[in-house]
């Protein structure tokens, strides 16, 4: 069996005696897009730096296509393209000269390939200009071009949509999905923009203060519906939900409660409420978004 493209086992990192990453486990297979979500300072960039060997884990291991980054750096990194934080390039060189520099570092990259990625990210017109004249969006494109040069099996992008305009974001999203589906690339995207991840990723891992607090497929998240009721006796309704279906309800305010239920059960529940003498004003199914879940999970972090 083929090893996963990326495998993190109990990855930990202390910086200056502070635990920054507290044991992360993850696997990612070919053609999968993983959104690595977390608020600022959660440890996304630190994790990525460990994956690509820029910093040494305090404990745990990173394997890329089965090769350990610590013991087999060259073979592991032969399969990786990445952007870490902002896509820094040599500003005093042109975009093309930057790519040539990097293609010089890897025998597999031909001139043809360089032209190919330039076209892929749509930079043909400005590629001979100095990077210092590029907008942030163009630098992002050049950063992606750079990461794609070696036809990586694993593409790692750290907050890639920062600085892109809405049209650029859509274009970027399409490119990412295409790379995953057509070239079977595994893609690891970190972001604090959840709405983005929801549109782009197949799975998400939510990181908070150095630990992964939830992993889920986007499909599952979207399928869990929440329902909001307004009724005259919320205490009784909540008790019924708990007794009959084992559903935890949330008292929002006054006469409103919400709970996550499967769509198909809603009519049944409403029937029971009415039979039990609860006066029902309305019930509305609300599509859950990643944003809600994320806010629930990471609430209060930014202040602390």
């Amino acid at each position: 069996m083929q090893p996963p493209v990326l495998e993190l086992v109990d990855l930990k990192k202390n910086i200056k005696n502070k635990e920054i990453i507290r044991g992360i486990n993850l696997t990612l297979g070919p053609a999968e897009i993983l959104g690595f979500l977390g608020p600022n300072g959660a440890g996304k960039t630190t994790t990525i730096r460990m994956i690509v060997g820029l910093i040494r884990p305090t404990a745990g291991s990173v394997k890329i296509c089965g090769y350990s980054i610590a013991d087999d750096f060259i073979r592991a990194m032969s399969n990786v393209g990445c952007i870490i934080e902002s896509p820094e390039m040599y500003k005093f060189l042109s975009g093309m000269e930057n790519l040539r520099q990097l293609s010089n570092m890897d025998k597999r990259i031909t001139r043809q390939r360089v032209d190919e990625v330039v076209e892929l990210v749509g930079l043909q017109k400005r590629i001979e200009d100095k990077v210092s004249t590029y907008s942030l969006g163009m630098r992002q494109r050049l950063g992606i071009a750079q990461a794609l040069l070696c036809r990586p099996k694993l593409l790692i992008l750290d907050e890639p949509v920062n600085g892109l305009d809405p049209a650029g974001i859509t274009e970027f999203r399409n490119l990412i999905r295409r790379l995953a589906h057509e070239e079977e690339m595994a893609i690891f995207v970190s972001s604090h923009l959840l709405s983005e991840a929801q549109l782009m990723c197949d799975q998400v891992a939510i990181i908070r203060q150095g630990s992964i607090v939830k992993t889920a497929t986007v499909k599952d998240i979207l399928n869990t519906e929440t329902v909001e009721w307004r009724l005259d006796n919320p205490v009784k309704a909540a008790r019924l939900l708990k007794e009959k279906w084992g559903i935890e309800a949330l008292r929002e305010n006054g006469n409103t409660i919400t709970a996550a239920v499967g769509e198909n059960r809603l009519e049944l529940i409403n029937q029971v409420f009415v039979n039990e003498g609860i006066e029902l004003r309305y019930s509305i199914p609300r599509q859950n978004t990643l944003e809600d879940m994320f806010l629930d999970l990471t609430e209060g972090d930014e202040i602390a």
């Binding site: 910086i15 730096r49 690509v52 060997g53 820029l54 910093i55 040494r56 750096f73 060259i74 073979r75 990194m77 032969s78 990786v80 990445c82 870490i84 934080e85 902002s86 820094e88 390039m89 040599y90 500003k91 005093f92 060189l93 000269e97 520099q101 990097l102 010089n104 570092m105 890897d106 750079q146 070696c150």
Partner: protein, 334 residues
């Protein structure tokens, strides 16, 4: 590996570092040559005033007179045996001037090119090397591109080695630039000749005496080659030390600042604290290697060519070891 070195050279050239070095060299050498021309003219005028117009314009007579004096001294039964080689060398030189119709007071492109490097080797040349080397690693950390080159399928030591190789190559180019600009500019003032004129070398320091038994004349071009060879050695040492600072420090200005103050501070130390023994192990006080060629120089008693070369080599090796070990283990957090 070659392609990696090519990358590094390309970057340094595009950052216009070499251009800056070229500009500084051009300005300084022109000023130097102009100044020397001026002071030569003044010396001649002074001599003329003292000895009389005829004697100074007719320098040949002066030379002939000197030769006769020296020959007498050689044949004198009271002369010291040890002084004789130096005297013979001096006679040879004077005879060469006469035969080739060269006024020994005059300078030449060849002489100037040599002297310029002799004067530059302990401060000016190192400063140029620092400009070149100061940001070779710290520059990549400062602008974040270090992440770009350390996330390729290339081991870190290869990245660092290619930078070192590029530096060592560019140092040769700096020395070539210095030589060519010196010769070209000074030739305008002093004429382009003088390459075969004899220069005395081969002095040795034994104990606290200048030993002159081995003194011989070599042609100026050969002497110049020796001077520039030593200058390259000095460049390698200063280059590797600033290379190390560049690895250890994350900002270019800090890296260049540290090296400059070390260099200038070291030169001060050797002036004011020459009896403080530990200063002799600093690399900055051992840079005047060319002065040993002319037998004129002992910055601190007991220091000689072999000592200086050893101290400098130890510094270079230690700097390289520290650079590589640190660079291999370092967490890249920029």
């Amino acid at each position: 590996m070659l392609r990696l070195i090519e990358n590094e050279v390309f970057k340094i050239i595009f950052k216009k570092r070499l251009l800056i070095v070229f500009g500084i060299l051009l300005v300084l050498i022109t000023a130097f040559a102009y100044g020397q021309d001026n002071s030569l003219n003044r010396t001649k005028a002074r001599l003329a005033g003292r000895i009389g117009i005829t004697a100074s314009t007719d320098w040949k007579k002066l030379c002939e007179q000197q030769i006769i004096d020296l020959k007498n001294r050689l044949e004198s039964p009271y002369g010291h045996e040890e002084d004789k080689p130096a005297t013979r060398v001096r006679i040879e030189q004077l005879q060469y001037y006469l035969e080739n119709n060269i006024n020994p007071l005059d300078s030449s492109a060849a002489k100037f090119t040599t002297q310029f490097m002799e004067q530059s080797i302990f401060l000016f040349l190192p400063l140029l090397i620092i400009i070149l080397a100061g940001d070779i690693v710290s520059g990549e950390a400062a602008n974040g591109t270090i992440k770009l080159i350390l996330t390729r399928n290339i081991p870190r030591w290869k990245v660092l080695l290619s930078k070192l190789a590029a530096l060592l190559m560019l140092e040769i180019i700096v020395l070539l630039m210095a030589a060519v600009i010196s010769a070209a500019v000074s030739g305008v003032f002093f004429g382009y000749g003088g390459w075969t004129a004899p220069v005395a070398t081969g002095f040795r320091v034994i104990g606290d005496r200048l030993e002159t038994l081995g003194v011989v004349n070599v042609p100026q071009w050969q002497y110049a080659l020796m001077v520039y060879g030593l200058a390259y050695f000095v460049s390698i040492v200063v280059g590797t030390v600033s290379f190390m600072i560049s690895v250890l420090v994350k900002s270019t200005s800090a890296s260049i600042g540290v090296m400059m103050s070390a260099l200038i501070g070291g030169n001060f130390l050797s002036h004011f604290m020459s009896d403080w023994k530990i200063t002799r192990y600093l690399f900055m006080v051992n840079l005047r290697l060319t002065d040993y060629l002319a037998g004129s120089f002992q910055p601190v008693a007991g220091i000689n060519m072999a000592f200086s070369v050893t101290v400098l080599s130890v510094w270079a090796v230690a700097a390289l070891a520290i650079s590589f070990v640190y660079f291999m283990r370092q967490d890249i957090l920029v």
